[in-house]
Subunit: 424 residues, 2 copies
């Protein structure tokens, strides 16, 4: 009998089940569950009426409608690419003539996840190294795992990665002769998933400078991959400019963003900017993936951006998430102050809670079981740490999302979480 | 100075510029060009008004609208998966309880191209072998090239691949000890791109049987990858059932299809069915690509299928492409009968023309230059042949698409093509 598994490629055999799939199954099996784990966004604030009106405009004229329902260009709609670059320039308060913001090097993707996937394909062979925040966005860890990449975690502080730790890790790689395998540092720089941390511009600048200092030993560029997925979802304070504003960004910064979370997650439109050395390889890969992102969803975003509908939706959404974040933080103060500490995010969708070291939060922990028994689900912090044998994964943290659940269910969920923690 | 190219992965360095990108650039640079090369579909028949009405239904109720604008499931909308399987069962005249048609093993993708890409990721390591039709769909050759796969071309006859040639090629692989690298036979089985050929069920059955006979020597299953992208676009005659109807299909047939071409290419929704041994690997890869196809486009197709709008659109579209195909065939008879032979397709978007051996059609040929001088573009046949050193690529054929151009421009284009050919 032929062996069944022998037919899969190395990638096919290697690619693991994402832990989130298991969490989603749990949620589907228990309809009463209060999921503080889901990465879903707030349902009531989805722009149903606005999208309907935008589509009326797009499909109201036969000519425009036909063009929206036809294949588009591989890199995406030219106007949408221009509007996207213009928006990043404005957010950065940058000079639009700076080479770092070139619409010719921007590709519209099927969510920013696709861009991260293609960048990883273009850069990393199995065994190659990416540095990531410790903890980081766990779906990116899935890409890295699937592609056989090695991850090195860099410690986090309140304003982004710990630069001394980054330096130490670079030195370790240098001593081990592993720098030629290091291709990029991946930072989720705004309201990070999972911790809510925003990286200061000074840290981005120092990190980029540090990477540069190791390039000669690496024998090639080392990129700063800035994932700005949550940039649009700020509800308090001011955000720092992106790494695209830094000297040398044009050659070393890869920037990824998305319209899915700030507009509608059912309309997957993301984008990425990449330096000239990388962009053609990414575009050739895009040609093989799908030769271009679905055109109608792009036309919705183009019209939303051009008409101002996008901006007013984002403003309303920020206020809404601000309210939901405050509901969660208030409930944490009320029900969990004696058992945990947490971050106070100024944007994004997540609160990061730390329990005392003796309180494990993992999938097999008493707390996870006790919380689930009370019909509440969270993302165990462990899942957000890369496999990196040089340190033990912390096992007393959790990601609590205020994106999907209603305020009353957020409060109820946090109250039950506190009960479960105290019951241990 | 760090070396720039040294930073790319093997895949990143290997992935070539698709030839079609160059053809598209030519078309953009010459607005007057009559493109008989474009894979675009017929603009005037795009369902603008129908899509508008479908979206009214979807976005007309806040509840349904919100659900359409939220993330969906990784494998796709459950109803759409069910409707898709139902449609294939009906097309095949099959028993809906047959294990070959399980909605649980169907994934909705961002065009069928994404499915082909993920299947290739799951199955093929660099150096692994896929057998393809000679000629075949050139975008699939791009995927194979990018992934470092080896292709083996199998000769074509009027009703599909030449089984004796398939047998010979399998024997060659066996003798060379290369069978363990052979993972699949890729067939574009309905109105093939580029030749318009439809593979008979008998041939599919014999091919599947042949592959089975070599599995023990391979040490693993060898799949039949049936790409039914043009199945919906039949305008004459009857189509044979798919390979899913064959004994053992449940374990050995991978089936891919799309709604993009038959409904709207600006709404990229494709799908694929895969055997139980492969499906989980494909789904894990999908999780890393994008954790699910854009939901709103899926809802449009779901509503179109459920309401019958899809069926009536497809009927109209078939009639339309029938008219355009006849326009092209009539023009060929009028203007090219003395210089070429061609296939008479019963569906799809392409006519395949053969010139005498001395008339080269390649990108550097006099005919290509002469045609372009007359503002007409075709796809040189050579681009549709896999790199396979065991045979020379024919260089006297071309793919002529009647999808995008209007009837009058099709006639004009073919007339100029005839002039260019006679001028040589």
């Amino acid at each position: 009998m032929p062996k069944r598994n022998a037919v899969l490629s190395e990638l096919g055999r290697r690619t693991g089940e994402p832990p989130i799939a298991w969490l989603m199954k749990l949620a589907l099996d228990r309809p009463k569950l209060i999921s503080l784990a889901a990465g879903f966004t707030d349902n009531p604030s989805l722009p149903v009426e606005a999208t309907r009106e935008l589509l009326e405009k797009i499909l109201g004229s036969p000519k425009r409608g036909q063009s929206a329902l036809q294949y588009g260009a591989g890199a995406g709609d030219a106007d949408l690419r221009g509007l996207t670059v213009k928006r990043i320039v404005e957010q950065d308060g940058a000079n639009p003539r700076s080479g770092a913001y070139a619409a010719e090097r921007l590709v519209v993707t099927h969510g920013s996840q696709q861009f991260l996937y293609m960048v990883s394909e273009a850069l990393f062979d199995p065994g190659d190294i990416v540095m990531v925040e410790d903890p980081t966005y766990f779906v990116y860890l899935g890409i890295a795992q699937s592609r056989g990449m090695q991850c090195r975690g860099v410690r986090m502080e309140a304003d982004g990665i710990d630069l001394a730790n980054l330096h130490r890790r670079l030195e370790e790689l240098k001593k081990a002769g592993d720098l030629p395998r290091l291709k990029a540092l991946y930072l989720v720089s705004y309201h990070q998933n999972p911790t809510g941390t925003t990286t200061s511009l000074a840290k981005k600048q120092e990190a980029l400078g540090l990477l540069r200092r190791y390039e000669n030993a690496a024998g090639h560029p080392i990129y700063l991959l800035e994932d700005a997925a949550y940039r649009e979802l700020r509800f308090a304070g001011e955000d720092p400019p992106s790494a695209l504003t830094l000297p040398g960004a044009e050659e070393r910064v890869i920037y990824s963003g998305t319209y899915s979370k700030p507009f509608a997650t059912g309309i997957r439109v993301g984008f990425g900017l990449a330096p000239e050395d990388l962009f053609p390889a990414i575009m050739r890969i895009k040609g093989n993936h799908d030769f271009g992102t679905s055109n109608l969803p792009q036309q919705i975003l183009r019209e939303a951006l051009a008409s101002g509908v996008y901006e007013s939706h984002v403003q309303a959404l920020r206020a809404r998430y601000g309210i939901k974040a405050r509901a969660m933080l208030g409930a944490l103060r009320l029900h969990c102050a004696d058992v945990a500490e947490w971050t106070e995010p100024r944007g994004g969708l997540n609160v990061w809670a730390k329990f005392p070291r003796r309180v494990a939060t993992g999938l097999k922990s008493k707390l996870f079981a006790g919380t689930l028994e009370r019909d509440v689900l969270y993302v165990p912090g462990q899942l957000c740490y890369a496999d990196d044998s040089s340190r033990r994964k912390p096992n007393c943290e959790m990601r609590l999302s205020f994106g999907a659940a209603s305020e009353s269910r957020i409060r109820e969920g946090i109250q039950r979480l506190g009960e479960a923690a105290r019951a241990i």
